[in-house]
Structures are given as C-alpha cells and as structure tokens.
C-alpha cells in the first residue's frame, strides 16, 4: 500500500490509519532533509566555530581582525548604499515595466522575452558586459567622443560616484527582470474586474494604481523585496568585474580574505555577517510589511 494513500483518501481516512500513512511521505522527503541539514546546519556550526576560533579556544580575534581591516568599513557602507539606492530604483522600474506589459502593447510576447533575459545572466557576466561599455576605451566613451565629450574614466577609483553608478546600472540591468517577472505574475493573479470596477467608479489611472493595483500587489512585492534584498547582499562579481578591488562589498571581502589573504577564519566571520544581516533584513520586512489586513488575503 503506497500510492493508495493519495490526498483525497487521506482526507477521508480516519485517525487509525494515519501512522501507516506517514511512512511513504517521510521516506520521500527524508533525503532532502538530510542533505539540507548536512549542507546547511553542519557548515553553519563549523563556520561559527571557525569565526570564533582563537589560539586559546574561543575568542574574538578574527572578529577584531575583520572589523579592524581598512576595507571592512567601506565594504559595509558600500553594500548598504548599494541596497538602499538600488532597490527603490529597481522596484520602480520593474513595476513600470510590468504595468507597461499589462497594457498589452503590440508585441508584448517579444518584449516580455527581451526584458526577462537578464534574469538568467550571472552577476559576473553582467559585470563583464557593462565593462565593455564603461571601460576607458569602451562603448560609452566611444559614443561620447562622437559628440565631442570625454573620455571619462568611469571606473577609476578616483571617481567613486561614477564607479558606484556603473555598478548600479549593471545591477539594475541584470536583476530588475526578476522583480518584473514576479510583479507580472502578481498582476496576472488580480482579476481584471477590480480594475474595471475602479475605472467605472471614476478612478483615474493613478488612483487605480494607488488604491487598487499596488495594495493587491503587496504580497508579490513583499516576496520580491525579501528575495532581492537577500540577493543584493550577495552582490560581488559585478563589482569585481567592473572595478576589481576598488569598490569593496561584503561578499567580495569574504572572497578576498579566502583567496588572496588565505585567511578562512576571517572569511567565515564575514560570511556570518552577510548571513546575519540578510536574515535580519528578511525578518524586518516580514514584521514591517506583515499584512495588517489579515482578512484581506483572498
């Protein structure tokens, strides 16, 4: 008796047969649980031990080394700055893109494809793509030279603002698609009756956006925000490809301590910081954005 305990019968079945029903499901999910625990819980513990290791047992040596490093402050600052500036711009752009598609322009299938492609581009590749544009002899300066401007050293460490902007644009290009796809799927889940009702009752496009679309998109936006924040904390290869070590980010520092400085303990400490901060951010979002309208979930 394996496949007979299908959901429907499970709902019908009594309490007596529940213990037998449990076993095949457990059998099917246990490999995944074991694997996830091995690859997640075990290194998590090992990482904490690694970070707090010291010559005499446990201590804060590596943490002090991490915080004392000249790049740590800038890395924290840059990572936060990137998130604070990137995410709002990215969400506005993604919502605009999704709303454009929702108006059913001619060729919307093609547009959706073109706008979704970067979803599958890695941040390393995105960095290299924009390197071809922003590098000193790149396409941007080539284009500017035809109108007699430049060349500008966009990626030089002497020009932190344009460095930051280049990374911002590359991330905007690469990762907005993800938010857009989530918002599009959210929009598709909203019955068009709501928009029509609001329209008939005299709501302009902006009123509809503010009072109908955005509130109904809240669950999708919340998911996208959590996902994007966690992913944004992991940004590093874009910066690596565009600016090398000139624009330190937290995960980039993990990479540098592990590979260049051969110091896995400090690297572990940095990794824990990233992990802690992203979890805290996700938790914060859930608290702040939690649906105050419990009944509103349909």
């Amino acid at each position: 008796m394996t496949r007979t305990e299908l959901v429907r019968e499970g709902a019908r079945g009594g309490r007596a047969s529940r213990s037998r029903r449990l076993s095949p499901a457990l059998l099917l999910i246990s490999p995944s649980i074991i694997l996830m625990l091995l690859l997640f819980a075990w290194p998590m513990v090992a990482g904490i031990l690694q970070a707090f290791q010291s010559p005499d047992g446990l201590g804060l040596d590596h943490i002090e080394r991490m915080v004392g490093d000249g790049q740590f402050g800038p890395a924290v600052r840059n990572t936060l700055l990137l998130i604070v500036v990137l995410l709002p711009v990215q969400f506005v752009l993604a919502i605009v893109m999704a709303l454009l598609l929702h108006q059913r322009p001619k060729g919307q299938g093609l547009y959706f494809y073109l706008w979704a492609v970067p979803i599958a581009v890695s941040d390393l590749a995105a960095g290299l793509v924009w390197l071809a544009i922003f590098t000193d002899n790149g396409y941007l300066n080539s284009a500017l030279s035809t109108i007699g401007v430049g060349p500008v050293s966009w990626l030089s460490y002497t020009n932190p603002t344009s460095q930051f902007t280049a990374i911002l644009v590359a991330e905007l290009w690469r990762a907005t698609s993800l938010v857009m796809v989530i918002v599009v799927s959210g929009l598709q889940g909203i019955p068009k009756d709501y928009d029509e009702a609001a329209n008939v009752f005299g709501a302009t496009y902006w009123t509809r956006l503010r009072h109908v679309w955005l509130p109904l998109l809240k669950p999708s936006l919340q998911v996208a925000l959590i996902l994007r924040t966690i992913l944004a904390f992991q940004t590093f290869a874009v910066a690596q490809a565009l600016t090398g070590q000139d624009f330190p980010l937290l995960v980039g520092e993990t990479y540098r301590f592990y590979t260049a400085l051969q110091n896995p303990n400090v690297a572990s400490a940095l990794a824990l910081v990233v992990m802690f901060v992203s979890m805290a951010a996700a938790f914060l979002y859930l608290r702040v954005l939690r649906d105050g309208t419990k009944g509103a979930a349909r």
Binding site: D193, F201, G202, P215, G295
Partner: protein, 356 residues
Amino acid sequence: MADISIRNLVKTYPGNTEPATKNISLHVEDGEFMVLLGPSGCGKTTLLRMIAGLELPDAGAISIGGRDMTYLPPNRRNLSMVFQSYAVFPHRRVRQNIGFGLMTRKMPKDEIARKVAWAAELLQLTPYLDRYPAQLSGGQRQRVAVARAIVVDADVLLMDEPLSNLDALLRLNFRAELKKIVEHIGTTTVYVTHDQVEALSLGDRVAVMEAGKIAQLGHPMEVYDRPADTFVGGFIGSPPMNFLDGQVADGRIIFGEGASIPAPAAVPPGPIRIGIRAEAISIAAHRPDLVPAVVDVVEPLGAATLLTVKVADQSLKVQIPPSQRVSSGETVFLHFAPDSVRLYDPQTGLGLLASV
C-alpha cells in the same frame, strides 16, 4: 440622472468574424429600468460594457444625458456598476469599498461618511462596516457591491447579472429588495441577465437579444404575451411558449387528423406555426371542436400540474390546476384560449400581424 441613447452600435471582438453586436439602437428613458435579456453570447454584456466604456464600439454612438460618450474612458462617464463577480476590493474594508466612488469624486470626508452610513443602513450592512470582504458571506458581499453602486450620484446605474452568483433562495429575496432600492433612488438603470424571471419581474422595459440584435423591446407583459418571434417566445416563460405547426384551410388551422382550431379571418391559406402558453390551454371533457391529445408525462408542481401531451406527433406543455386528475396514456381534449393564440411564419419565425 439621464437618458441613454444608443445608435447603430457595431462591435466585433478582435479575432472573431461574427460581430458581438450588430447595429444595435436603443433608447433608455431617464429613470427607466431597462433589462437586457438573452442567452449567453447574444451580445447583452458587450452592449453593457460599451455603455460603461469598458469596450469601445467599432461604429455607432452612445450618448448619456445628451453628451456623447462613445469613446470616453469609463472614469469620465459618471457611472456606477454592479459586477457579476461583485468586484468588491479585497484589501479595503466594507466602509472604504462603499465609499470608493465618492473618494474618486473627491467628496469631503464627512459627507462620504454620511452617505456611506445611509447606504449601509439601506442594505443592512451597518454592523459589517469595518470588516474585510473575506469576512463576509457571498450575499453580504453582493450587498456591499450594490451599496457601493447606489451611494454615488451617478447618471446611470449598470448591473451585469448581479444575482447570478447567489443561491436560489437568496436570489428570490434580494430581487425584491433590489427592485425596491432602485425604485427608491430612481436612477436610469441598465440590467443584464439571462434569467427571464428576473427580467420580467424587474424591468420597466425588457430588450430581448439574440445573436447581436434586439429581437424584441417592450414592457415585460407585452414581451411575455406577444413574443415578436418564436425565439422570444421560446426563451421567455417557464415552460417556454408552445409552438405547433399546422396548415390553414377552410378557415381552420389543422394540426392533423381531427385536430384543428378556428383560424382568425385574416389568415391566408398555407403553412403556419402557432404559439400558445401552457397556461392558456385547458383540458375539458370531449367536445367536437376541441383538439384531442395523448398525455405523455404528468408532473405535479404543487401550485399547478404540468402535462406533456402529444398532438399529432407534436409535443406541447399544458398547465392545469392541481385539482384536475389526469394520468399518462390517457386521451384528453385541449381548449386553446382564442385570445392567447399567436401566429408565426414557419420559415422566418416572425410574428404575423393577424395575431395581434
């Protein structure tokens, strides 16, 4: 409040070859309750959506209160509407749902509160004002949708099958309530339904639609009593109107061997189709001028008994008082009330003047 004037509306949905509405013209008087009735796909919802501005016509014109509205976006038409799905916003409380149309019209807050309270009282929603729609029953959500529609001072109130999602008992109760409310506020109303009982009970006038055209427009009893064609007669009424094919000869309409009724004087000889309602037929003891029929099925319905009988191989429904006892297989004799016999052209199905 305003009248609605619809002139020669044509609409074909992209990808369809058959137009959804074929050159429809209709005038709805100020304060009138107009019902658009028809089977699904007859174009009634398309017509309503064009009045709302949710669809744009390919040709023709719509004006409301003397202002052309043909291509105006919905939000500039000063309308209100009750949707089939209710479309009550799930993220807004009942209070904010009812007040939505007032908010978009930029009404002062205290006035919104006053009008919402009035509408809530009228629809018995006062205890639920601070709930979310998910915490309401289907019938209550329907009330919210109606409250939201009547609270605005709209020129026209549109209703798209508003009762079709309610269960039978609730529908019966709410139908009467709805009629009272709409009479009370007196707004020009266009009401779409596929339910002929709703159409007859609610409408000042009923427009029966078929395949993108208005087959008949008239007062409910007129549409019921004198269907303009066999489609209308067959669509309206439960059971629908009976149709019997016969031949006119020697001043009689002959259905078969020994089965005939007197023909009105003006009817020329030849094939003809008569229409008669089940309740206009009675059964009696044998008399030579009555139509003999064999009882096929007997269905007691409580208030009446419904018979399915055969007259010369043609089937028809007869409604008799429950006191009359008949059993299947029995031969009975039918009396067709002469005032209720309608005549139709068997080819086109259109009504013949002689019967009016």
